[in-house]
Symmetry: D2
Subunit: 152 residues, 4 copies
């Protein structure tokens, strides 16, 4: 499978499953494949978003219909190591790379099928803000504990 290794993707080895703290299984969609027949580079970010928010909601840390703080993305990035493609299932690995007073850096990797090595890895930085005023607020205690457990 070395031929589907992306050229020029060499800067640093791709991470492996053991580098991550939690795993979220995801299904791919027909529309994820672009005109080149592989998962479009944009879709990776949609999966990052979905994996992190599914974790937060599942852990009771984000209530979409509630009034608590929300996370706004201020920066994001991704490195693409191998091609992914529908209908392949994907697993997202999650960890916390940095935890500030009101910010958190989520680091996410996408694993195709049963692969141990990531097809892509990236991050996004959430700043926790009040829903209406969009002013930064410190992480609550439950949030901070949950995020600390995911630091690697």
């Amino acid at each position: 499978m070395t031929e589907d290794r992306k050229p020029g993707a060499g800067r640093g080895e791709p991470p492996v499953r053991a580098d991550y703290a939690r795993f979220v299984p995801l299904t791919t969609r027909w529309s994820d494949n672009d005109a080149y027949g592989h998962m479009n580079n944009v879709v990776h970010y949609a999966l990052f978003d979905s994996a992190v928010n599914a974790f937060l909601i599942g852990a009771g840390l984000l209530d979409l219909r509630g009034q608590g703080p929300i996370g706004l993305v201020v920066e994001s990035g991704c490195r693409y190591h191998r091609e992914l493609a529908f209908p392949q299932p994907v697993t997202a690995g999650l960890r916390v790379g940095h935890l500030g007073r009101s910010s958190v850096r989520y680091e996410i990797a996408l694993f195709g099928g049963e692969a141990e090595t990531a097809a892509a890895d990236g991050f996004f930085v959430h700043v926790s803000v009040e829903r209406l005023t969009r002013r930064p607020v410190a992480h609550g205690e439950a949030m901070r504990r949950a995020l600390q457990e995911m630091m690697r």
Copy 2:
């Protein structure tokens, strides 16, 4: 409008229109707004992709139905300075930040409406490959010239 400035987005000032070489007008979509009522962070990358490929196709440098080389994305990133939202029109500013033998770093900023200052700025790195084998190939002469003109 200072209140829709994103908190913690401070690292470096956002770029302005004069920092870019070409401009592509884009329309936003209802589905761009997520549950928080603003353009989801993923959509920015869809606009980056669309602006660069519209430029390449318009300049005769990419033929989707042809057999020439294609660009694979090996890395991408974005900083979010202000919120954008449907139905606001957006203009993408494009420039080339780095030009290698077979790679190119496109830098893109998104401007909401008539704003001079970018709501978001980012990049992606394309490696030019043969369509079938996905082996890197040097940029052709026309491509190289067009990209050089967009360096800032």
Copy 3:
């Protein structure tokens, strides 16, 4: 261009621009093209939604951040006559096909570039509901007048 006419799409002739009351220009996106190199059938609905909501917001009939009624889609449909594809610009034609006490049937056609004949035409039915309780409410007077003007 007869060869990009979709086979079996014959049930009734495709509509033309003169059949519609309002027009909304839209840009296409790289990700609109699927693995077959044309606009995926799902994207047409995203354009329908965007065109109608852009019209409503532009006419002051929908305030996304306000507390007024919203429209919930209870049915939708589309017939595909010819292929569309990024980077082609698209114009949406809008009209109202039926206007009930709290419901409205929007009919939308998509025209590729300067074409007079629709590449696709479809509809969706909105039921106007209170934002929180999701109970149907009669159209307000301004809304009813604006929708009546769009009946064809």
Copy 4:
């Protein structure tokens, strides 16, 4: 849960799981929820497409990188009975409603979580065409048999 029943969605009862022949589990995404906090009506079609194509590929009836016939969508439609929302998992039920010489009508329902009653049900009509010429071709024998088994 009667209050999340969509108003005006009454035309005919929503189907139940027993009305379908095959089931495909799907995950939802953060970006599926629109500004109203529920799955946008467009996403249902993306799930229809994904479920049918995943079935076809899994059954060896569609090879994305091959040269065999492909299915072009000439018509589609959906009725929305109840709201769905990320992060809820969804199951798609599939059946074949009509089978022509070169066409097939797929009927799909979406079930939220463990629900027996569909939140939405719809269809799309595929016409089988040669990949390059886009001329209709009769279904092959394996395809016809597989589709017949899914008729309900």
